[in-house]
């Protein structure tokens, strides 16, 4: 087996984050009752005409520039003709002859340290189809056109990948780049990023490619890895047993961990592509390119280097914070408000992550302002609140973006700095707990923890545990 190598190319569909559809003004919002986000255009009514959403073009160009593509300065849309009820016109508006981006590449680095460039053949814009629902009760098929006309880009790579690890590094790179651009949230599970895997095998040293298959229905990185392993094995088995690999499209069943043939090349339809006469060719000006270039964000690689140099953060912190651009933005803005970088990083990595996870939210859903996080950190720094209180305040901030100073004041959560009152309380605690005092004097260091706890309780948490400890020891 080891004398074979796997050759993989990817077709990645990414749903763009526009508010409206690619050729009409209907909302792209997910959900909604069937056929409520529709109009004559996206339901293919006779006489309706498509008009290109400019934001789609700008996102596609931004992704192209970020992946080192040549931008096609005179580009067109083509019709891909095929009959299926999810496709209301029975043609999909896509790009074949003059796609918006060509000849790009992205640099990847795998977990095991392989570094290489994966070339991008092209990126084109197209419309999504509707959704068919097979209703067994009615014994009928129903169609929902809410998704019809949602904008997609398809990123077609060259067959440059040789392992599942490289495929995942490539997808991660695309996901990071595109989400940093704000062009899509790129979620595999939710279908806003979909990858079809073209795979063939050949003996190591061969220069010709083997016959490839195309694998569909891959909804997670794990499924992709399993499908690649499964298909590689299947193809090698075929060759080893003297059979031939058939060029076909296969569907991966991740539960059963095997794939089924969907259609072979012989059944391939003739899509009769031709330029869509309803859409005028697009001329991309140098000004537009400059404008899009000027909006390009600092990408993750650059941030990783800068965070290490500028903030001296540990690598673990940097990787976590830069995983998501919004999180990185919150970090940078909080630091800009004067908070120490490591403290900010701690709040984001621990409490923020915990609350996001508990509430099933994404970093994009973070509501607290960097200013308020900075002021909470300030309150802990000057010991106005202790860490337990700070967490309580943060939870409220996470929910309602409250002003932490105000919240602490309104709820009387500030640490008692009146040492006289504290001493009085501690003396009372000592008097009430003779057993613990004895234990302490008999060398049980742990007993002091109990006494600190009792004091904190008596002070309703509004004191600094360090000071309590110090005074206790002194009085004992």
């Amino acid at each position: 087996m080891s004398d074979y190598e796997t050759v993989i190319g990817l077709e990645v569909h990414v749903e763009l984050a526009t508010k409206t559809k690619i050729f009409c003004g209907c909302s792209t919002e997910f959900g909604g009752d069937p056929n409520t986000h529709t109009c004559p255009v996206c339901t293919g009514m006779p006489g309706s005409l498509p008009v290109l959403n400019r934001q789609v073009l700008e996102y596609a160009i931004a992704v192209g520039l970020a992946t080192n593509c040549d931008i096609t300065r005179y580009c067109k849309f083509d019709r891909k003709n095929y009959f299926y009820p999810d496709n209301p016109q029975n043609y999909q508006i896509s790009q074949l002859y003059l796609p918006i981006c060509r000849n790009g590449h992205v640099d990847i680095r795998t977990e095991s340290g392989v570094e290489k460039a994966v070339r991008i053949h092209e990126i084109h814009m197209e419309e999504d189809a509707g959704k068919l629902i097979h209703d067994d009760w009615l014994d009928a098929s129903l169609v929902d056109y809410n998704r019809s006309g949602v904008p997609l880009i398809e990123i077609v790579s060259e067959p440059d990948m040789r392992s599942a690890e490289e495929v995942i590094a490539y997808l991660e790179k695309l996901r990071m780049t595109i989400s940093y651009l704000g062009a899509s949230d790129c979620k595999l599970q939710e279908g806003s990023m979909r990858a079809d895997v073209n795979l063939s095998v050949r003996k190591v040293g061969e220069t010709e490619f083997g016959t490839r298959t195309e694998m569909k229905n891959l909804n997670s990185f794990k499924a992709i890895a399993r499908a690649i392993a499964g298909e590689t094995e299947r193809q090698i088995d075929l060759i080893e047993s003297g059979e031939k690999v058939v060029q076909e499209t296969r569907r991966w069943d991740d539960d059963k961990e095997c794939s089924y043939a969907m259609r072979s090349k012989e059944d391939a339809q003739d899509y009769r592509y031709f330029p869509d006469p309803d859409l005028v060719p697009i001329s991309v000006s140098e000004e537009l390119l400059d404008e899009i270039r000027s909006r390009e964000p600092e990408f993750r690689e650059a941030k990783i280097v800068r965070y290490a140099e500028e903030f001296g953060l540990p690598e673990k912190d940097i990787l976590l914070i830069t995983e998501n651009k919004h999180l990185a933005d919150v970090f940078e803005e909080t630091v800009a408000c004067g908070a120490p970088a490591k403290k900010v990083s701690n709040w984001l990595m621990v409490e923020t992550m915990r609350l996001l996870k508990e509430n099933n939210l994404d970093p994009e859903d973070i509501r607290f302002s960097p200013k308020n996080l900075a002021s909470l950190i300030k309150l802990t720094e000057d010991r106005t609140v202790n860490s337990t209180v700070a967490k309580e305040v943060f939870e409220e901030m996470f929910k309602s973006d409250c002003d932490p100073a105000k919240y602490v004041e309104e709820h009387g959560l500030a640490t008692q700095n009146d040492e006289g009152a504290l001493r009085e309380t501690i003396q009372k605690v000592i008097a009430d707990n003779p057993q613990s005092v004895d234990d302490y004097h008999n060398g049980k260091e742990k007993a002091i923890g109990f006494l600190v706890g009792q004091t904190m309780k008596a002070m309703q948490g509004k004191c600094d545990p360090g000071s309590v400890n110090k005074i206790l020891k002194e009085l004992l």
Binding site: G47, V51, R272
Partner: protein, 479 residues
């Protein structure tokens, strides 16, 4: 008032504006004209009596309140070709496959007419999906030529042309993909203009050949055509191919003056196949313009013989894709019995489309097929570009090109469909105009010995409708 149905649109509009004629009265006159004549001519697929009367009262109320002052067409009854979507009103394209289709939206051209106070009488008959030159391919039976009911009215906007000629409406909207306004205008003895591609929004026009289709008016005279085109033209953000230019008031071009106009007559248009009576009438029209002060000379346009194959390749290719949406699933005709999805598609489309539509779908699917695309479709696009260049060269020398609209006058019913190639060849003078996107107008220039109307075609360079109207108006006034 007995002569209402003889008035042109601008005259009737003036009478209505001055209060001499009420909109209701005008509408009733036309509805009764339709009632008495349409059984014979079959100009209409749908007559919307109720909608027309309701619109008449609404328009009258607007006028009475001092509205619609700048609109010369307020209150004037109009007929709309049945391939333009009308909200709430049956729109069939004269096809069985859309026999029950009621749009929920209005085409832009119709909406503009309604804004201008037009009263829509109904929807006119046409060749199925605008494919044909005789209005005989309609699912709802052929329209007859009011000049002689044994003859066809031309097509595909035959219902619109015949309705104007018969006095069943004051004016009508048609659409022109390869001559479908100009040729029936010529056969029926009315004026018809296809504007420059992009002048009138195609939103709501059920597409045949998207890169060639244009909406335009069919009218009793050149002045009405100028007024109607002014009302329906203008940029529409719902149509990417509509041109973003300021709206022109074409009625300002209705001036008798052609002294600065250089007219070229393509020698190639007067060759084999042109009926001598038609040739004589067209040359007569050129003489009228020469006498009015225009310079007239002959020239070689070239490439004339390539226009028909290029046109039928491009139009059929686009049509094959445009008509895919008619599948029996979402609206329109669905076959009664079927076994599974593909059988439903096949049966619905086989039963829903007529022979000429199927012929063009097959032709179009073929020329777009892998292996044939370059040889047919791409080559046709190259021919189209060359034809455009030939016209560009011609318009560097001439302001107007003058020639026949069609090689003959209207044929008898039943003569054309048996030989589709012959029918396609009849489009020789009109289709290159669509390929080049140019404006063209057909103006009546006489009749043949059987009393059938003949039209002269005037062409101008893109967006030079003003010269076209000025020349046409001068000819109409001086003839």
């Amino acid at each position: 008032m007995s002569n209402i149905t003889e008035m042109d649109a601008l005259t009737l509009g003036r009478e209505i504006a001055s209060g001499n004629i009420k909109v209701r009265e005008a509408t009733e006159s036309y509805l009764s004209s339709v009632k008495s004549k349409d059984e014979q001519y079959n100009c209409y697929v749908t007559v919307d009596e109720e909608g027309a009367m309701k619109a008449a009262d609404e328009v009258q109320a607007r006028i009475d309140k001092g509205g619609l002052k700048g609109s010369p067409l307020a209150g004037v009854p109009v007929a709309i070709k049945d391939n333009m979507c009308t909200e709430g009103l049956l729109t069939t394209c004269s096809s069985k496959i859309l026999y029950n289709f009621v749009p929920t939206y209005e085409s832009t051209a119709v909406a503009k007419l309604r804004d201008a106070g037009a009263v829509i009488l109904g929807k006119t008959n046409m060749d199925e999906f605008a494919m044909g030159s005789t209005t005989e391919t309609s699912y709802f039976g052929p329209t007859r030529n009011p000049a002689n009911p044994e003859h066809v009215p031309g097509g595909s906007s035959g219902g619109s042309a015949a309705a104007v000629a018969a006095g069943e409406c004051v004016y009508a909207l048609g659409s022109d993909t390869g001559g479908s306004i100009r040729q029936p205008a010529s056969y029926c003895g009315v004026v018809g203009i296809k504007p420059t591609y992009g002048t009138v929004s195609r939103y709501g026009l059920i597409a045949y050949g998207s890169s060639l289709d244009q909406i335009g008016p069919l009218t009793r005279n050149v002045s009405d055509a100028a007024a109607v085109l002014t009302a329906i033209s203008g940029h529409d953000e719902r149509d990417s191919t509509s041109v973003n230019k300021p709206v022109v008031d074409y009625t300002k071009s209705l001036v008798k003056d052609v002294k600065d106009i250089k007219i070229g007559i393509p020698r190639d248009y007067f060759g084999e196949g042109l009926d001598p009576e038609v040739a004589a009438a067209v040359r007569g029209a050129a003489d009228v313009l020469k006498n009015a002060g225009a310079s007239v000379e002959e020239f070689d346009l070239s490439l004339v013989n390539y226009a028909i194959p290029a046109y039928y390749t491009i139009a059929a290719a686009e049509a094959s894709s445009n008509l895919e949406r008619f599948d029996g699933i979402k609206y329109g005709y669905r076959t009664e019995e079927y076994a599974g999805l593909h059988n439903m598609y096949k049966k619905s489309r086989s039963e829903g489309f007529g022979a000429e539509v199927k012929r063009r779908i097959m032709l179009g699917s073929f020329v777009l097929s892998s292996g044939y695309y370059d040889a047919y479709y791409l080559k046709a696009l190259k021919v189209k570009a060359l034809i455009k260049k030939a016209f560009d060269d011609a318009f560097s020398k001439y302001d107007i090109i003058l020639g026949p609209v069609a090689p003959t006058t209207a044929p008898k019913l039943g003569e054309s469909l048996s030989d589709p190639i012959k029918m396609y060849l009849g489009d020789i003078y009109t289709i290159s105009v669509n390929l080049a996107g140019l404006p063209g107008i057909s103006v009546p220039c006489g009749t043949d010995s059987d009393g059938l109307p003949i039209g002269v075609q005037l062409l101008a360079d893109c967006f030079n409708e003003e010269k076209l109207f000025r020349t046409a108006y001068t000819y109409e006034s001086e003839k």
